[in-house]
């Protein structure tokens, strides 16, 4: 999954630890999501979307793959 997390975080001037604290995960988890090493669970993706006031699709992009 590609994502705009790093950009959205930078726009707000938040560190990875700051964002992690706001969504209840570690700094390492934020880094893993930002760099695409971890695809967040649906509940975590919803928490991120709510925090940024966006939809999940506006943050994450699977490049149009249907996963089959």
């Amino acid at each position: 999954l590609n994502n705009r997390l790093r950009v959205l975080r930078a726009e707000r001037g938040w560190s990875q630890a700051e964002l992690g604290g706001r969504i209840g995960v570690s700094r390492q988890a934020v880094n893993a999501i930002e760099t695409g090493k971890h695809d967040p669970s649906l509940p975590l993706a919803f928490r991120l979307a709510r925090l940024f006031g966006m939809t999940i699709e506006e943050i994450f992009d699977d490049g149009g793959k249907d996963g089959r």
Binding site: W14, S15, A17, E18, L19, G20, G21, R22, G24, V25, S26, R27, Q28, A29, N31, A32, T35, K37, H38, P40, S41, L44
Partner: protein, 140 residues
């Protein structure tokens, strides 16, 4: 409360859990250390001479500490840490499930000696630890 403070609080909780586990483990270590000291450093003599109630109490305390500590740990961690632990557990289990039966068959057919269960145990734990550290290194 801002995110930095929440993050700091989560980290504090992690270290508090670790300290609690240490406090739980301390009486076990102290008890065994005291007993071995009384047996003049002879580990086997200590276990042979110790009353059953002492050994059972130490094992019960160890089991309670591990179970309670694991419960608190899994309640506190996030999904990335959970995945790291699941991968590590899977690697450790696979190492055990592959190594022990293979060595047992080799032992039965006379190609090697009987399996050394302690060695299998250490290899299984080592495989789990290696996978855990590799994932941590990748996501640092």
């Amino acid at each position: 409360m801002d995110g930095e403070n929440l993050h700091a609080q989560q980290r504090k909780q992690f270290w508090r859990n670790l300290a609690l586990a240490g406090i739980g483990a301390a009486p076990i270590g102290a008890g065994v250390g005291w007993g071995i000291g009384r047996s003049k450093g002879d580990f086997n003599a200590f276990w042979n001479a110790s009353p059953d109630w002492l050994i059972l109490s130490l094992l019960a305390l160890a089991a309670a500490t591990i179970i309670y500590g694991s419960w608190r740990f899994y309640r506190a961690i996030d999904e990335v840490e959970l995945l790291d632990n699941l991968w590590a557990s899977s690697a450790a289990y696979s190492a055990y499930a592959l190594l022990f039966p293979a060595w047992w068959v080799l032992g039965k057919s006379g190609i090697t000696g009987a399996p050394n269960h302690w060695l299998v145990f250490v290899v299984a734990l080592g495989a789990g630890l290696a996978v855990y550290l590799a994932r941590k290194w990748r996501a640092r």
